[in-house]
Symmetry: C2
Subunit: 254 residues, 2 copies
């Protein structure tokens, strides 16, 4: 039998974002690998092995899954959101590049998923309606200076900015520093959206302004969107405001 590794995006939260392609890939797998909480979202199936692991062992997890697939098994590696956005697809490719030759010819499939930025944007309105970027605020894998340089480039370029991995107990100050850095280029009233646990029952969306963004609680389950100079907030009676960025660009902040 010829082996296969499928890297599957579950989307954020529960099952409502799970695509038919992702569902089929999960049903057809003999073994599942992934971060524990993502494995927990998948129904137990007879004959399907479950291999949960911690959130700091991406390299080892990818190696183990690749090795099992190279032996002929159908293996699925699961990611929350989209596997190609700050997630397992790049880790798997990295191990393929440095691993045994057999890994390169393996049947590798990557199944996209709804990434958190799209789900949070949909809840808030259409803040990503024009040019935008996604930045991971984790400085575990890149120097903080690179992050600051990208914040400058994104803000002066007029991009809407989505922050992934905004804050953790080991990285407590970076988010506040990022807001301060953006404050050099953007107006204090630039809209900022905090989306927490989107797609889950306890999801929460908060709309605030850049000058007050540092006061809003955030954690690793939070995705943050910072508007561009063109992003607008529409107040609505008895409803959360609608945040959107017009498709028509008027000016840029540079």
């Amino acid at each position: 039998m010829s082996g296969r590794l499928t890297v599957v995006g579950l989307g954020p939260g529960g099952d409502r974002f799970l695509t038919p392609e992702a569902r089929e890939a999960l049903e057809g797998a003999e073994a599942l690998y992934g971060y524990g909480p993502y494995i927990d979202r998948i129904p137990v199936r007879e004959g399907q092995a479950r291999n949960p692991s911690g959130n700091r062992v991406e390299g080892t997890r990818a190696q183990t899954a690749l090795a099992q697939a190279a032996e002929g098994a159908h293996v699925a590696m699961v990611s929350g959101g989209d596997p190609g956005v700050f997630a397992m697809a790049a880790a798997v490719c990295g191990e393929i590049e440095v691993g045994p030759e057999a890994w390169r010819t393996l049947d590798l499939r990557i199944v996209p998923g709804i990434t958190a930025m799209l789900a949070v944007a949909a809840k808030a309105g259409a803040p990503l309606g024009h040019d935008f970027c996604a930045i991971s605020l984790s400085d575990n894998l890149k120097p903080w200076e690179v992050i600051e340089q990208r914040l400058d480039a994104a803000a002066t370029g007029g991009f809407v900015i989505a922050f992934y991995n905004p804050i953790s107990t080991a990285r407590p100050w970076q988010l506040g520093q990022a807001f301060a850095r953006l404050g050099r280029h953007l107006s204090p009233d630039t809209p900022v959206i905090f989306g927490r646990a989107v797609g889950r029952d306890d999801e929460a969306i908060t709309v605030t302004a850049l000058e007050k963004a540092g006061d809003t609680p955030a954690d690793m389950a939070t995705l943050i969107i910072v508007g561009s100079p063109e992003t607008r907030v529409i107040p609505r009676d008895g409803k959360a405001p609608l945040v959107y960025t017009p498709r028509m660009a008027a000016t840029v902040n540079a």
Copy 2:
């Protein structure tokens, strides 16, 4: 009865990316609005009105759908890909902002979808594995100078770049100009991915280099991803190469 407008992302291509949430929203609608080819993707249902329109009437389409929802109907507006990425969600929000007060209190829901950039990335490997941005190359809605400024910002900031709306018969030179502009900052061998009709039976992925990218055919059904200085290409015997951007940032091009 209380009206509702749901803006639904169909994902790219066929049904394999249609989420359960999107499917439910389509099933529950009394009337569908959208660009003709997207409406064509939805099965005909008894009692469900279909209102296809052209691809240059987003404002009118949004107004008509909002007006019908405000009268009490359950209306679905469909978008290919994700409705929040260069698509109908921002157009709907724009009409709500300037329209009758009743439109602001309408039950508006936006259902995210797999956007083309994620589907093309998944086919190629993990090119969006690190910080990235999305730029529409259409200068119908913004001056070309703004696009060039954003290309400069994205390339000098070390972002991977996805191009939406890369080229059309009315905009024949912009894509070549964009590649040339990026060539000021990026190495000639920077990987470039062309993904055409992804998710459809005739989907095609081409991997080339920035210096040769202008020679690759593209049209409005093409999504292009230009790598960063860190993006890597893994050759594979008898298979398309794998393109990925490592999560670990080494350097930036500035």
